[in-house]
Symmetry: C2
Subunit: 360 residues, 2 copies
């Protein structure tokens, strides 16, 4: 008992000295919403006292928090995960530990951390997290890379690893290749010597976009029209794809499926066209194609503290450190400009989708 | 060398004595076609000498050979497996061994046998098969059951066993529940204490059909319209289905998928509506549904002489012997009447599909 009292009192000293020294007068800023609707309308920028971490918790100062499509859909009420109101927007961030509650923590002030769980509400300047829900990120990882690591690179990583066994020289085909996840997939394929053929919608800047995505490591980039008549796979320029990654649906997904090899798998992780995936009966029976879905949120829940999760992040950190995996095209914007950012987040700006990362 | 000569000469004596004694003057009858087209037009009834089995082969007299939809589609040229012309129709049969080529065979005259492989051409009164491509069938199995065992009961068996793990009380939902395969699936579910909810198109004889299929063991039979608004699963009358078996496609498949439980699997093995399977994106990502296909021909190729194959047939034989698995509704017809049978085989006659079994 005496030992516990001593530890608690030590914790309280640590926390108090931090607040006294640096942050006593600062207020935390939070983007909250109390009803579903268009984000620019329903989000409110609020100020509140910076909270104090308890034993087993840390206080972080947010360094960057991206605006992902799922964040917008959640606020619109269109996402299957419904928050409890009032809710804080955002699901990803990187932060710096500014106070540790109690002693004996595995984290210390100055550490960079990323939360594992989704639905925590990351669009806030400060947040308290249980230590065991945070992952320490090497200091060598940039803010943009760290802030965007848990959704898109992890989604790409799992989809490339968990459905078929890919060997060097095998082909993966994906639509929406210019999306943030698409850019991660291209780079992971390059790192693993897998040929990634990417499909994008035709657009005036197609040549620029193609150059950009081939620069990331895409083996080839085709428009949806070009895919319909391509002989890349028939002529053996690339092996027939074992894996198709679909975030569009409709005709685009159908064309991907047509190119799949016998017993190939299509993994759907998005539906930007708002059209369902249409599967010809013969492709199921005679070609043995399989159609499945992937949702990173579910994977994370089902693999909390698993060795697979640690292995994945270690590999991703390594790739980022040696420059093999960069953040998607993005723009760092000030927290104060959130309204324009949440309004534009779903629109494609320029030749490649740009991800907004809020800074505080 | 001397031993081989001795064995061959013994074989030749065995074969010759058979022909001399019983079949010397008989001719074999064969249904051949030399081009794709409507079966009644392109099939020709031919006579030819009864062939003589070599060492490692047996001669069988066909006791029954069904007309399956895939046989019709093959002759029409609509099936992915294309025969070499001239070809013999049919893929299933049961026969009686009437001559054994050589000695030391595992089969003897009088044994009832079923060929494993497809594409052999079974619409013939006599056929030579390598012994190792034949499975001996217990004498207690009826001709109709034996003649139709390798396609539909095996398809149902594998689809129920290979995609999800079903426990007693679990639910399977299937459309085309009145098809020959549907009838086998209902009976297998009953044997394994799995609730089978069957869907059929509405028709004047729906009540009769429902009674017939519930008599086979269906837990419930609904029309496609009834399925759309059923509360059987919402209200917990039955567990939400883990497995949906689809031989229709289109809207019917979509309604099956709507009823599937989280992480459920739809296995497609037919497409009677000629419409593709439409898969809502959200059902893939958030409900984690999986859409796959099954083709018995591929399974058989990939599991030749496997323990799984033996175990399956032993279990099916046991079910047939104790009356738990009956042949689908069928009509035995004379070989001479083949033209009418192949013309009507794809039409649903009466309240339940009827399978024609050719006899010789």
């Amino acid at each position: 008992m005496a030992q516990i009292v001593k530890r608690l009192s030590a914790a309280s000293v640590t926390t108090q000295s931090f607040f006294t020294a640096r942050h006593m007068s600062a207020m935390a800023k939070v983007l909250r919403y109390g009803e579903f609707g268009e984000p620019a309308k329903v989000l409110r920028l609020q100020e509140e006292p910076i909270p104090t971490p308890k034993h087993g918790e840390v206080l972080i100062k947010t360094l960057g928090a991206p605006i992902n499509p799922a964040d917008i859909n959640t606020i619109q009420g269109k996402y299957p995960v419904k928050p409890t109101f009032p809710a804080v927007g955002g699901n990803e961030c990187v932060g710096e530990v500014v106070a540790v509650g109690g002693d004996g923590s595995s984290l210390k002030v100055g550490d960079r951390v990323v939360p594992f769980a989704t639905g925590l509400g990351t669009w806030r300047s400060h947040a308290i997290y249980p230590t065991n829900q945070l992952m320490k990120v090497p200091a060598s990882i940039g803010v943009a890379e760290a802030a965007t690591i848990t959704v898109n690179p992890c989604t790409g990583y799992r989809m490339l690893k968990d459905f078929v066994s890919l060997a060097p020289g095998d082909t993966v085909i994906q639509n929406g290749a210019n999306s943030a996840c698409g850019q991660a997939i291209i780079q992971l394929c390059r790192a693993w010597n897998v040929e990634c053929v990417g499909i994008v919608r035709d657009r005036p800047e197609f040549v620029q976009l193609k150059d950009y995505l081939k620069g990331l490591g895409a083996a080839e980039i085709l428009t949806e029209e070009e895919l319909r008549t391509t002989k890349l796979f028939k002529d053996g320029i690339f092996r027939k794809p074992k894996l198709a990654l679909n975030c569009v649906g409709g005709k685009s997904a159908l064309e991907l499926a047509r190119q799949l090899d016998q017993a190939g798998v299509m993994v759907t992780y998005g539906g930007m066209s708002r059209e369902p995936v249409t599967v010809p009966t013969a492709s199921l029976i005679f070609k043995d194609l399989r159609f499945v879905g992937f949702w990173m949120t579910r994977w994370t829940k089902e693999h909390a503290a698993s060795p697979e999760r640690s292995a994945m992040f270690n590999e991703l950190f390594g790739l980022i450190e040696r420059g093999a995996l960069r953040a998607p095209a993005h723009e760092l914007i000030s927290f104060a400009d959130y309204a324009a950012a949440v309004t534009n987040a779903l629109n494609i700006q320029g030749f490649v989708g740009k991800k907004y990362i809020l800074q505080f």
